[in-house]
Structures are given as structure tokens and as C-alpha cells.
């Protein structure tokens, strides 16, 4: 099997991801399939908590390969993404020198044992196929983003002291972004783009049933419909899929088998984390209509 033909088609992607517990719609599956065939990095954008990171994990798990993760935050630079020389070890080496010539030492201290591999380099040098997850790439500074460009288009890293490291086999790269800032055109051009929105009602219900198996189908449906209705509002923080799941579990724990105004009002804080959001949602659902 060629490394880039890991799936026969979008249907197979859907099926195999479902085996790992990740329910992907046909749109997501098609894009994953194409990313695999074209060996291109996949940039996944969308609101928080729709399963962007989970997608990368599910791909790694269904392919049975290692997931290497780079968590981005402001201030991440090449020493955190690519590689770093182990200065302290180099220093020790220099201090411990006998009567070697400087050339020999120099060659020695810029060699493999003194190199600290960071996630991106590790993924490139891996002999086994891997999934490289670059999480929240929008948190990177512009300079750090530029560092990724060489990797993402040519699958190589240039290390001045050692030469160019070319990937033995291109990793399956997934980048995620919450869209906190516009990524550069150059980065976007090198990636396939997938916008992941909240799933449609049917898929979200399937997710609830899969992750909270004890729940009844009717309750799951009610939960999902209510959450979708709330998402339509202009909120500070819309409920994510994980919050839908939390809410479902809460309802189960409270032995509630059908939703009505009272139960919704009491348990809504599981779903919404801001007071203004809570008030707005309650107003929208007209939950307070009865008591005043």
C-alpha cells in the first residue's frame, strides 16, 4: 500500500473514523481523503469545541500511527517548533576537552547528540509514518508562522550547521485555527482548507448517542434541538459539542428523561458560561414566561 493511499475513498474515511468514535460528515471525509492523496497539510478552521483537534487524533488512531503535537502559543519560535542546540551540554563538552583541536570539537558539538528535536523536526525525521498536529496555529507570531512554510511545502528543514533535513516520508499534517487572526496567504496557499462548523442536527445527535450511550434517543434529540436553537443567538460563547455532551451527562445524572421549562432553566448553566448569555437564552426560549 502506498503511504499516500491510505484510504480508498471518502466512504472509507467515514467508516474508519467512526470506528474510533469520531463521526465525520461526508464533507470532512472527502477533504481528509484528498489531503491524504495529495500529501498536503490540512488547515482546519472553526469555532472552539467542534472537534478540530479530535479529528487529528482520530486520524492517527485509525491509521495506527503516532501523533506528534505542537501546541502553539505566543512566543513560540524555532527553538520550540524545529530544533535547538543543547547549549549546556555543548558547554560541558567544550570544558571537558583534552588536547583536541578546535575543529574536531566544533564538528562534534554540532552533531546529533547535541541536537534537541522539537515536534516538527521529529515528525520529519521519523522513519515511521506519523500525524503532525499543529494546534491553534493562529496563536503563532507571524515570524514563527513563516518558519513553517518551508516544512509545509517541501517537507524539509534547513539546519545551518547540519544541512537540510528532508522528510523520509511526508507526515500527515493537520493545522487547527480558531481564527483569532487571519493567517498569511502563503500559509493558506500551501494547505487544504476545511471549515468545520457545528454539525447538523442528525450528526450531533449521533455524536451524543455515541459518547453518552445511556441516554434515550428522544432525550438526545431534544437536547440537540435545544442546543441548536441556542447557537442561533448572538452569544459571547456558543455552546460547543463538548458542552452538549456535558449537558447530556448532567441530565442523565439527574434522572431527567424529558426536557421542560423547569429542567432547562436549572441545568442551562452547564451549557452557557456567561450570565448575559444565560439571560439571553432564557429570554429567547421564553423560560421565565410562567413565573412572572
Amino acid at each position: 500500500m502506498k503511504p499516500s493511499h491510505r484510504f480508498s475513498g471518502a466512504e472509507e474515511v467515514t467508516r474508519r473514523l467512526a470506528e474510533t468514535g469520531y463521526l465525520a460528515g461526508i464533507g470532512i471525509a472527502t477533504v481528509v481523503h484528498i489531503a491524504d492523496r495529495l500529501q498536503k497539510p490540512l488547515l482546519v478552521e472553526g469555532p472552539a469545541g467542534v472537534g478540530k483537534t479530535e479529528l487529528a487524533k482520530a486520524i492517527a488512531s485509525t491509521l495506527g500511527i503516532e501523533l506528534i503535537r505542537l501546541q502553539c502559543y505566543e512566543g513560540v519560535d524555532e527553538t520550540k517548533t524545529l530544533y535547538e542546540w543543547n547549549y549546556k551540554k555543548q558547554l560541558l563538552r567544550i570544558q571537558a576537552q583534552g588536547d583536541e583541536s578546535w575543529d574536531a570539537i566544533e564538528e562534534d558539538i554540532f552533531s546529533e547528540p547535541f541536537l534537541l528535536e522539537r515536534p516538527v523536526l521529529k515528525a520529519l525525521r521519523s522513519t515511521e509514518p506519523v500525524v503532525l498536529l499543529i494546534d491553534e496555529v493562529d496563536k503563532l507570531d507571524i515570524e514563527a508562522e513563516a518558519l513553517l512554510l518551508e516544512v509545509l511545502s517541501d517537507w524539509q528543514v534547513s539546519i545551518p550547521e547540519m544541512g537540510t533535513v528532508v522528510a523520509k516520508q511526508p507526515p500527515f499534517v493537520v493545522l487547527t485555527s480558531n481564527n483569532d487572526r487571519e493567517l498569511s496567504e502563503a500559509l493558506k496557499r500551501r494547505c487544504l482548507y476545511l471549515y468545520m462548523d457545528y454539525p447538523d442536527a442528525e450528526r450531533e445527535k449521533a455524536i451524543v448517542l455515541k459518547r453518552v450511550p445511556e441516554i434515550t434517543e428522544t432525550l438526545a434529540e431534544q437536547v440537540v434541538r435545544l442546543v441548536r436553537s441556542i447557537r442561533e443567538l448572538d452569544l459571547k460563547k456558543s455552546p460547543s459539542i463538548s458542552e452538549t455532551l456535558d449537558w447530556s451527562r448532567t441530565l442523565l445524572a439527574l434522572n431527567i428523561d424529558t426536557l421542560d421549562d423547569d429542567t432547562v432553566r436549572q441545568t442551562l448553566p452547564v451549557l452557557l458560561k456567561f450570565q448575559t448569555d444565560l439571560e439571553r437564552a432564557a429570554g429567547h426560549l421564553r423560560l421565565n414566561a410562567k413565573d412572572n
Partner: protein, 449 residues
């Protein structure tokens, strides 16, 4: 396939979606790996390779339907002639009511196609048929469909919560049906007149590019939806810029201390932090008439960024001025701006803008608060209804404050025409800028403030 695809790309580029050559090659490569007979797969493949921003997606979808939509220029363009449009409308309506209840999107789309075939054709023009969404919606009496669907599915004794949810879902589906009909009519017109003709009028600018003064009320709704993500992006952009610029000189003391762990060799350098300049912001906005939209969006963005300023104080005026800062204290900025219009005390005489009096009043009541850390932002078109400009007041404000900026939503060409006193005021402020759309506003706030 290839010529059509290239034509489609050209249309995307002229609609303002940047599609590079390498992206278009990727698109072709992607098509090799998917079943071409599946419209949805083709759509996904093209979207993922060519469209790299969600805000471009609606335009992509529209053009995709026009240029590569099912059966363009082929069999389906034969319209089923309907003998009795009224009866046909009734039948379609019944079916719609059923489909609304099941929520089957594919069925809804099929229904939209049939409805346009049966009812949409307008025989008027000699150059070819025209199709009208309005005529379809009228023929089906869509305005009563919702009530019917609700009555049909409503079960006696249902929980009221259930009822409300169902109503909402039906409304959403009905809206979707309207959109599907609109798309189908456009596709049909594209068949007879060419996709380009339709694309020219159907492609709308993105919300960020809409002109504040000429936007329709629907477009304003779009703008409102765009404002929150935009504010979030802007906030992180400004914060990032501030952080990067606050690196000061080398901190010897800390660097030497750190070097102890590496035998006195300073590997880790430490730098001082410079305290960023955080201005006090005074925002004065004209909230009369059409300018008010502009002022409101500007206020929302400024307040979304309030963390970047020591203090933000907002003032609204028409022919007199009132402080509205209190509204923003406990409320979300979107709600606060909505409340501002009803609660601020801004008219005194006749409800026509009076910049002179308002600026003078600001100076008299709040002038003592202005200092070298203050930035004053004035939002409005400077149309003073031929009243006294009292620009000496503005001059005094400019003298006391560090910066005074004036954001004018009118195009530069219109300044000083009619009752506009733009240049009379402009001489006293640091800068009077033309801000036509959200993008301009965003850039101003990010780079100038």
C-alpha cells in the same frame, strides 16, 4: 470539464476571491481522486483547494451553482409546462408542508427545483426566459405554509418548549427553501443567459466591504453578525502588536544572574519591559440618521478593545451631547449600543445634527478631563445643517488632548459639499480620515490608535 473549470476560476477571481495558479493545479489534482459524478464531492474538492477563508464560501457556493451546477445547458432546462398554475401551486404547497415536517434537505431541494419549473418562468424578454423567485413564492402562498405545517404536526398537549423549538426549526427550513428557490431561479437564468450575466448582479460584497451609508437593512444584519468575530480578531491583533513593541533594552542584572547556571556564559538574555502607552479614549459620535450606523459599529469595535485603553468614555450627540459610558459598564457592547439610541439624551431643539453646540458642550463639561494621555475620536460626517461650526471649541480640545482624530464615513469627494463643514474642522484635528466600511475601520483602529 477543464474549460468550464477555468471559466469558473475566472469568475471567482473577478468576484474578489484570490485563486493562485498553484491552488488551481491542486484543484485539478484533487479531482482525480474523487468520484466526479457526485456533485457534493466535487464541491468539497474545489472548495478545499481554492477557498481558504470561510467568508469567501458563500460567493464560492453561488458561483459553483451557476457555473458547475447540475445540468447547466442540458436536459433539465426543459420546463414542464403547467396547465393550471394555481392548482400546481396548491399541490406544491401541500408537499412543502409535508417536507417541512420531516426536515429532509434533499427533498426540499428537489421540491424547490420543481417549483421553479412549474411556477417561476416569466415570459417577457425576447432574449430568453427569465425566472422569478417572487413569482414562485407568490404562487405557492408561502406565507401561510408555516402556520399549516405547525398545525399539521402539532399534537394536543405538547410541551410549550417543544412547540417553540418546532416553530423555530420550521422557520429556518422555510428560509432555506426560499434560498433554494432563489438559487434555482438564478441557475435557470444562467442556463439561458450565461452564468456571467447572473454572476454580475448576484455576487455581493463581503460584509467587511459594505459601504456603511448605502447598505440595505439586510446587509446591516450581516454586518452585525460579522462584528463579533471581527472584534475578537482585532483585539488579538492589537494585543499582539502591543506586546511585540514592548521589548526594551538589555537587563544586565537579570542576564548575569541567569548566566550563573551556564558557568558565567550569558546564554539566556533578559530584556526589560517597556510600559505600553495606553491612551484614555474619548469617543464622540453623531447618532443622527444614516451616520448613526457608522457610529454604532465604530463604538462596538472600540469597546471590544477596551482592554487596550486605560479608560474608554463614550459620548453621543445629535444637537446636544450626553455621556453614554454607563451603558457599557454592565452590558455587552452590542446590547449597550442598541440601548444607547433610546436612552441617551441627545436632542435638544429639532433633532438635526449640530456639531458646534455638541463639541462646545463636550469642552465645557468634560474639557477638564482631557490631558496629555487622552485621545479624542469624533465620528460623524460633519454635516452641520449650516449652523455655527464653533470650531474654536475643537481647537481648544485639540490643544489639551494628545491626539484628536475625526472619522468621516463620507467619501472624500463629498466633503465640503452642501452643509458639510469637514475642512473647517479638519484643520484642527491630527487627521480626518475617510472610513467607508468595516475593513477601513478595523485598519484605523489597529494602526492609528
Amino acid at each position: 470539464m477543464l474549460p468550464r473549470l477555468l471559466e469558473f476560476e475566472r469568475a471567482m477571481r473577478s468576484a474578489g476571491i484570490p485563486v493562485s495558479v498553484s491552488e488551481s493545479i491542486d484543484a485539478l489534482k484533487a479531482l482525480e481522486h474523487i468520484p466526479l459524478e457526485s456533485k457534493d464531492s466535487v464541491r468539497s474538492a474545489l472548495a478545499t483547494t481554492m477557498v481558504k477563508s470561510q467568508s469567501h464560501r458563500p460567493t464560492f457556493d453561488l458561483l459553483f451553482d451557476l457555473y458547475l451546477g447540475a445540468g447547466r445547458g442540458s436536459v433539465t432546462s426543459i420546463t414542464d409546462e403547467v396547465e393550471d398554475p394555481e392548482a400546481a401551486g396548491q399541490d406544491l404547497m401541500d408537499e412543502l408542508v409535508d417536507t417541512l415536517a420531516t426536515g429532509d434537505d434533499a427533498a426540499l431541494a428537489a421540491l424547490a427545483r420543481r417549483a421553479v419549473s412549474a411556477l417561476g418562468r416569466v415570459r417577457s424578454s425576447p432574449t430568453g426566459d427569465w425566472f422569478s423567485q417572487y413569482q414562485v413564492l407568490q404562487g405557492m402562498e408561502l406565507n401561510i405554509a408555516l402556520g399549516r405545517a405547525l398545525r399539521r404536526t402539532g399534537v394536543e398537549g405538547d410541551a410549550p418548549l417543544e412547540d417553540r423549538l418546532r416553530r423555530e426549526e420550521f422557520e429556518a427550513r422555510l428560509e432555506r427553501f426560499r434560498e433554494m428557490v432563489l438559487m434555482e431561479t438564478r441557475r435557470r437564468v444562467a442556463e439561458t443567459r450565461g452564468a456571467e450575466a447572473v454572476a454580475r448582479y448576484a455576487v455581493r460584497p463581503r460584509p467587511e466591504d459594505l459601504d456603511f451609508l448605502s447598505a440595505t437593512s439586510n446587509e446591516i444584519k450581516e454586518l452585525r453578525r460579522a462584528i463579533r468575530p471581527l472584534a475578537r480578531k482585532l483585539a488579538s491583533r492589537v494585543a499582539m502588536k502591543r506586546r511585540r513593541s514592548n521589548r526594551g533594552g538589555l537587563d544586565m542584572r537579570r542576564t548575569v544572574r541567569r548566566s550563573l547556571s551556564t558557568g558565567g556564559v550569558p546564554f539566556d538574555t533578559a530584556f526589560r519591559h517597556r510600559a505600553p502607552h495606553r491612551p484614555e479614549l474619548f469617543v464622540l459620535c453623531d447618532i443622527s440618521g444614516s451616520v448613526s450606523r457608522f457610529a454604532r459599529f465604530a463604538l462596538m469595535l472600540v469597546h471590544a478593545l477596551s482592554a487596550q485603553f486605560t479608560k474608554v468614555r463614550s459620548f453621543a450627540f445629535i444637537d446636544t451631547l450626553d455621556e453614554v459610558t454607563r451603558l457599557f459598564e454592565h452590558e455587552d457592547f452590542v446590547t449597550a449600543v442598541d440601548r444607547m439610541n433610546s436612552e441617551a439624551n441627545v436632542t435638544w431643539l429639532d433633532g438635526h445634527s449640530d456639531y458646534g453646540t455638541s463639541i462646545e458642550k463636550f469642552l465645557k463639561n468634560h474639557g477638564k478631563d482631557l490631558g496629555p494621555r487622552s485621545t479624542v475620536l469624533i465620528l460623524g460626517d460633519a454635516r452641520n445643517n449650516y449652523r455655527a461650526t464653533k470650531d474654536h471649541a475643537l481647537q481648544e480640545i485639540a490643544r489639551r488632548a494628545r491626539h484628536v482624530y475625526w472619522l468621516n464615513p463620507e467619501p472624500v469627494a463629498d466633503w465640503d459639499t452642501g452643509d458639510s463643514a469637514a475642512s473647517e474642522y479638519a484643520v484642527h484635528v491630527d487627521k480626518m480620515v475617510e472610513i467607508r466600511n468595516l475593513r477601513g475601520l478595523e485598519d484605523f483602529i489597529a494602526y492609528e490608535l
